[in-house]
């Protein structure tokens, strides 16, 4: 192991950051797709769609940065993980196609057909979310590597653990979607979103608990990482903070503070994500390949670092501006579409 902040470590944080921004941004708009079947009313669905139509494309771009950035900064990890996760990845891409085109297509059809694109939106969101969660679980449980190649089969990813993480992500994205609706809507739609947020919060806590209990059984490394002295000084604050955020989230839901539940849900995601990071570090392909083994040559990483240092703040700036332009509650009939 080299210095604490060598360039590979910096890049690991950058990729982790890109994936995290993707997870929370596309998380809530995939979550809206997951909740779609629970809102059969056409007017509600129009409002839900309009609440995210101007920004969904930007949200998904972070996924491209996560993938493209990984190919550039950690090509070996990209080359091993993508074939290992082949089926979930293809399923995710197909899901994203259906839900992505639904944003435009559902406005271009007659009534009965529009419903068909509503189904595509909901189904595509569910498929993409499940696939992402399953991919996460499959990665955590480790993949079979020989030399510089994936050496397993094309169904290795399918285990009870990966199914668990798939379902957990469905619950998590749905919570983000529900609290987003609390933030962006009013009236009965918002009241329903509040009720859903309650149920989904408890489901989310259950999911976090289940994944946290199951992870240490995957590999001795995870147990040591979390439960041995002195690591525990660093790891113990994570569950404590989860408890704290949960209390705040429950209070904001009880007091109907519209803006808070969404951001507290994001905090819950951030903590779960930090937990994942603690489990994985310093591996990028768990138990096989570390970030240093997978790293691109330094001149590739440095070349991109200049771009990231200048451009990512700029991107965050104009993305925030786009959200600001479309801030506030979305009202029926006054949508952007």
């Amino acid at each position: 192991m080299t210095a604490l902040f060598d360039i590979a470590t910096i890049w690991a944080f950058i990729i982790a950051f890109a994936v995290f921004v993707y997870v929370v941004m596309d998380g809530f708009d995939l979550g809206l797709g997951l909740l779609f079947p629970l809102f059969p009313n056409k007017a509600d669905r129009d409002v839900i769609m309009n609440s995210v139509a101007p920004v969904w494309d930007g949200n998904e771009t972070w996924l491209v940065l996560g993938g493209g950035g990984m190919m550039a900064a950690f090509p070996l990890a990209y080359a091993v993980l993508m074939p290992a996760l082949y089926t979930p990845m293809v399923a995710m891409l197909i899901g994203l196609i259906f839900r992505g085109v639904a944003f435009e297509f559902r406005w271009r059809t007659t009534q009965s057909q529009r419903n068909r694109w509503d189904i595509a939106f909901a189904g595509g969101s569910l498929l993409a979310t499940l696939a992402q969660g399953i991919a996460l679980g499959a990665m955590l449980q480790g993949v079979h590597v020989e030399g510089r190649h994936y050496a397993g089969g094309w169904w290795d990813w399918l285990t009870p653990f990966s199914i668990l993480t798939g379902l957990a992500l469905v619950v998590g994205y749905a919570l983000l979607g529900a609290t987003w609706l609390v933030l962006k809507t009013e009236g009965e739609l918002r009241d329903k979103a509040y009720r859903l947020s309650w149920a989904l919060l408890f489901a989310m806590l259950g999911a976090i608990g289940a994944v946290s209990i199951a992870t240490p059984f995957l590999h001795i490394h995870y147990t040591q990482r979390w439960f041995t002295w002195p690591n525990i000084i660093l790891t113990a604050p994570v569950p404590i903070a989860v408890a704290g955020v949960t209390v705040l989230l429950l209070r904001s839901l009880a007091n109907k503070l519209d803006t808070q539940p969404f951001f507290l849900s994001l905090a819950l995601f951030a903590l779960s994500y930090a937990g994942l990071g603690i489990s994985m570090y310093p591996y990028i392909v768990p138990q096989s390949i570390t970030i240093w083994q997978a790293a691109s040559p330094e001149n590739s990483q440095v070349f991109m670092l200049f771009g990231v240092a200048v451009l990512v703040p700029l991107i965050l700036g104009y993305t925030a501006w786009a959200y600001w332009v479309f801030r506030g509650k979305v009202r029926p009939g006054s949508g952007y579409h």
Binding site: L65, G68, L81, I94, T110, H149, W154, S296, Y318, G333
Partner: protein, 469 residues
């Protein structure tokens, strides 16, 4: 099932299929984004209503085309890892940063300002909205810059070294980015995008002029499109010629395949117009050829010697028939475009630009010509560089993922089914939008349902299609 199939062939089929369906949308949206910027600028400058009507009309079409480009593009960005993992491992340190820069400088710019462009005219004011349109248009061009740089590096690698793990690494980033074929490819592709869009705009304009030659919107768009065809099609032929000479210098084998030159010609090569290339026999059957013209075009001298595929080991031959024919289709389309441009110029001079039914029917028939030419050109350049992914250095068979054939076959079938559903629907909606003429008070995607249903415009009847949304 599928165990007997070759996983690499399946992976190539999948890449070709998903790429072909993807490339037509960026080609269209690069041109359309610039056209929208021009329309909005003309509107802000002149204040004439016809320009904002046209802007809103094409904006709705842009929204659909762009969305389809995005979702099919995400597939491409992950396919490098899922299906070409050995390539990603070895070329990732060079290709990866170029694509990362594309995401950082182009995709985010487009996506960040797209929402404002589509839905924000009333929210941010005219000037800021125009700025958003400009950013989207600029983003599409920056995207073309990086992805063509990456593709060109794979065609004509430069500025690289190979490390101990067998990976390509950059020795000089400027040489990597501005590799020998990049400037030619970039110009050729951006011009192709502009022509493609102009031909679609012209065809839609012609369609509506055929029904009523007095409509302001169709007149303006038809005239603008025909100027593009008149001016850009000849420039494109010149750019293509220069690109060809560059290819002859750096990828001579590709030119041999494009020209069907199996044999070397030490005293001036003919130009084979048509014929049936036979890869196994190593000859072009039933060739119709013009003596010496091949050397004249490629070497600008009638008796200059030209080497043929007989100087290249057979295992390095690209698939000649595909390269030969796709090249001819592209060139044929190019000359038809020049013909359309000249015809329109003549009609314009005679004052019959908006009345000539023959011209309008020709323009309508040429609507898809840009897409055909882009696809044919793409196939020419991509099959012509086979059997390599990184030209001369990394073979296609060494680039693929260690996947079993059934896995690739299943995903290929999945993509085919999904694309046919999604593209059939998308094309239907695009044609439906194009079938109604741009009219007075045209609304952009920002118009909401009640305002449309109430029919606030005198031409509400003509907007029936739009109000169904």
């Amino acid at each position: 099932m599928f165990e007997a199939w070759d996983a690499v062939v399946l992976a190539r089929a999948q890449f070709a299929f998903t790429m072909s369906f993807h490339i037509v949308f960026p080609a269209f949206s690069i041109g359309l984004a610039s056209y929208l910027a021009v329309l909005e600028a003309l509107w802000l400058w002149t204040g004439r209503e016809v320009f904002i009507n046209l802007f809103n009309y094409w904006l709705k079409i842009f929204a659909i085309a762009f969305g389809m480009g995005v979702v099919s593009g995400i597939v491409m960005s992950y396919q490098f890892g899922t299906n070409w993992s050995a390539f990603s491992d070895r070329a990732g340190p060079v290709i990866g940063p170029l694509m990362a820069y594309e995401v950082l400088t182009a995709f985010f710019l487009e996506a960040g300002f797209l929402g404002v462009m589509l839905f924000g005219l009333e929210r941010v004011g005219h000037r800021l909205h125009f700025f958003a349109t400009l950013m989207v248009a600029t983003g599409t061009l920056i995207s073309a810059f990086w992805i063509l740089s990456a593709n060109s590096w794979m065609q004509t690698p430069a500025g690289y070294a190979v490390n101990a793990d067998g990976q390509f690494v950059a020795a000089d980033w400027l040489k990597v980015i501005f590799n020998p074929s990049f400037p030619y490819r970039l110009v050729h592709m951006v011009l192709a995008a502009y022509l493609t869009t102009a031909l679609v705009v012209g065809a839609v304009g012609a369609f509506h002029l055929l029904r009523d030659s007095h409509q302001a919107g169709p007149r303006v768009m038809f005239s603008m499109a025909m100027w593009m065809a008149t001016l850009v099609a000849p420039i494109q032929i010149l750019a293509g010629d220069q690109h060809g000479l560059n290819t002859l210098e750096h990828q001579p084998t590709k030119i041999m395949a494009m020209e069907g030159h199996f044999q070397s010609h030490p005293h001036g090569a003919p130009l084979i117009l048509f014929g049936l290339p036979d890869q196994a026999a190593g000859e072009v059957k039933y060739a119709i050829e013009v003596p010496m013209l091949g050397s004249l075009i490629l070497k600008h001298s009638i008796d200059a010697p030209l080497a043929g595929l007989d100087t290249v080991p057979r295992e390095n031959w690209p698939p000649v028939p595909i390269t030969f024919w796709s090249f001819r289709i592209m060139v044929g389309m190019g000359f038809l475009m020049v013909g359309l441009g000249l015809f329109s110029l003549w009609s314009r001079w005679r004052g019959t630009l908006y009345q000539s039914r023959l011209l309008h029917m020709f323009a309508m028939a040429m609507g898809p010509a840009g897409f055909i030419a882009v696809l044919a050109g793409w196939i020419t350049t991509e099959t012509g560089r086979q059997p390599f992914t990184v030209y001369g250095l990394l073979r296609t068979v060494e680039s693929a993922s260690p996947l079993a054939a059934p896995a690739v076959a299943s995903s290929l079938i999945g993509f085919v089914i999904v694309y046919f559903i999604v593209y059939a629907a998308g094309l239907t909606y695009l044609f439906r939008l194009m079938a109604s003429a741009p009219h007075h008070g045209e609304q952009g995607p920002s118009a909401d349902l009640p305002a449309r249903a109430a029919g606030i415009t005198p031409a509400a009847g003509a907007a029936t299609q739009g109000s169904a949304r």
